[in-house]
Subunit: 204 residues, 2 copies
């Protein structure tokens, strides 16, 4: 039992990880299972994770991420991948709801039609959606990790094109972020300074 | 006390909100205070929220969001704003850490130099970062709302240029998402179908 507000308040960006800590495939999958609950536009679920956990692949990834030690010292470093063409998968993804009678044909067709109407031919929105969905999933993953007793550290400092090539992303996929997850080693910073409430919100 | 895993599993995208429910400024601020814990690249905190809670402003926003009822029926609809030029604020934002001795001058200068090196002149990364930071904050906001007993519904269906104009965003700011927050009314859907674990992750 891990209180949600304590999880939000307790999560910080870790830099130091215990390099002797390993996570099992079941432990990795538990985090992904939780991350699947993340919302996406039209439920298009246009993200996926590559869980980099072998020593060899972590070393490969670290080289493409400015040699940041946490990439290989964490038990697993996730590559969060967003799909800019994810809307094209929507008919397949929501078909189970049609088949189960949760949607009728008109609602199914309307849902897909609205989605296509928004994304077809709109390259900026397609790119944005890959980043947006990937980032929403990334945040869920970090809270899930925190709640399970791990620490996490998100990174955008990496060579995106090289990561895409090395880890087999297709041409529509964007590496949105790396997230190192594992047990903490000593020496992590406390939370960095934050703005005041007045700087972060205006009520109208 | 709201268990984190239950919060992640229990959050769904609400469409029906109790239109008689109002949230106080203190209740809104409590959610924003929690959202401030969200991580951002270099801690640049390049997002802000506009909490649209007055009947008049909710009506204005609803018109720009394809007349989606939840925009005005929810107690508050947040406009999540990302700043593509947020990296330029970093020297000011982390100055308190220098002043407090948490950073020495060399570390302060190095931090800012690395950040500028990444973002200066890189329009795609600037845009991506506005979307990325705004989305991370949005996800925290939805979990904070869920933990406090509210429901939430995120939207990308709105006229971004019109919202930017109506709500006074500057030219570098991007409206990343709308998030309706309030008490649920009856009739909200259960979670929509999700992919299998095998479709969402590959371990290497």
């Amino acid at each position: 039992m891990s209180d949600t507000l304590a999880t939000i308040q307790g999560r910080t960006s870790a830099n130091n990880f215990d390099p002797t800590h390993h996570m099992s495939e079941a432990q990795i999958q538990e985090l992904v299972e939780l991350t699947l609950n993340t919302p996406t536009s039209f439920n298009m679920q246009n993200w996926r994770l590559i869980a980099v956990s072998s020593a060899q692949q972590k070393a490969n990834l670290r080289k493409l991420a400015f040699n940041q030690a946490k990439v290989s010292e964490a038990a697993v470093t996730f590559i969060v991948v967003g799909d800019s063409m994810g809307y094209q998968q929507l008919p397949t993804l929501i078909k189970p709801m049609l088949d189960a009678g949760a949607l009728d044909q008109a609602a199914y067709d309307g849902w897909i039609g609205m989605c296509n109407g928004m994304y077809n031919g709109n390259a900026q929105l397609q790119r944005d959606e890959a980043i947006r969905s990937g980032s929403l999933a990334a945040m869920t993953l970090m809270y899930a990790a925190q709640a399970k007793g791990y620490v996490s550290g998100a990174m955008i400092g990496f060579d995106g094109a090289a990561v895409a090539k090395e880890f087999g992303l297709n041409e529509h996929e964007v590496p949105v972020m790396l997230i190192a997850v594992g047990n903490a080693a000593p020496g992590n910073w406390p939370r960095k300074v934050r703005r005041s409430l007045a700087q972060a919100v205006k009520t109208v």
